[in-house]
Amino acid sequence: MHRVVITGAGTVNALGHDVPDTLEAMREGRCGIGALEFQDVERLSIQIGGQVRRFETEGRYNRQQMSLYDRFTQFTLAAAKEAIDQAGLSFSGDLAAKSGVVLGTAGGGVSTWDANYRSVYEEGKNRVHPFVVPKLMNNAAASHVSMEHNLKGPSFTVSTACASSNHAMAQAFQMVRTGMAPAMITGGSESMLCFGGVKAWEGLRVMSRDACRPFSANRNGMVQGEGAGVFVFEEYERARKRGADILCEVIGFAMSSDASDIVMPSKNGAARAIAGALADAQVNRDQVGYINAHGTGTAANDKTECAAVADVFGPHADKLMISSTKSMHGHLIGGTGAVELLACIMALRDGVIAPTIGYEEPDPECALDVVPNQARDAKVDVVLSNAFAFGGMNAVLALRSV
């Protein structure tokens, strides 16, 4: 078994168009959630979200590329470039042949579906652009990353709703750990902030109209976000020998399925994934200093997640910190775990714990240290990142400072 480290990170999300801007916003507890802007937004009952602003495609992508790149692919390519540039890798020969791309997304090209359904149903057109299918398919982003960076190894897309990115990164981790790949590009992206994308979520009646306030007694639901997070996972000895700047080590993961309900989370399923990640990483529970929570701001998730953490950690649950950065960037659905991994890296590398903003009132059912409203300086050695998806599919990653 090989050790696996992260040597590059990239992102586009409502807090910033790169990692430094995003981490600065997290340190400052800035909120990226605001009024949504797109066609027909006035017909929605939910009109807020963590929308990416001022992401100019002109100059970034040419006309031919624009006809092939849905917004979720555009975000992914920008984030992948930042990550691969930071890692200082260029893929050729054996490295290219063995390295691949595993990304998560729940919906893929949702805005492409939306725009073309609008054109044929509402506007009555009988013809769509020839690239609608290659633009909207869920693996489009992973394919374009592989084409752009000459990655010819194992590549695919994972779709497990809100846990997609964590499942994807777990796959990439496993490939590098077992020696199957020397390096993997991994993470995830989502862009469903369009009329149809938000309208579908409205139907579930789990969305907040004003703010995402995870763990706060007056929380009233989740807020959608959009964007991408992409990382370079690399075999440790290889990274060390070439003098790469190592951001942190990935030390374990676990996945579990609740096998119980299509939307309601299960304490047992979440706890099994958390405990499984600790066991896989071979760390004791009292070594964990920080958990980046799934923390959606819904009544169901936050209570269940806190109960699962209390179950697994026992008395240590009161000593560790657990925060939800969804309060700032919104819930990126299939891309959320990837953007949230940045908060884990910041905790390990910079000793700064990202806050749960919008926290107003303690909830006795979420009685943990949720790092309310203000970032905190703290030295932590081991951190976890939780993701619990609709459909009861859970994936938890464990990381350590190097």
Binding site: S67, R127, H129, P130, F131
Partner: protein, 86 residues
Amino acid sequence: MSVQDKVVEIIAEQAVLEPGDVTLDSTLESLGIDSLGLVESIFAIEEEFDISVPFNANDPSEGDFDISNVASIVTGIEKLIKEQKS
């Protein structure tokens, strides 16, 4: 603008060339337009003239829409406009 000028403009845009660089005896291959580019050009032509072009990318020689060069494409489109607009 004549049908020919418009078709030349669409093909030139696809090939990232100036319309003046596209001649009637140019082939799509000589202009660097691949199969995806051809499908996109046909889409643009259908949109521009509001016609339906019988073209199957699996077998471009099937049907009587001749794509051997720019002149044959222009002739084919003029015929389709006449048939479908009358």
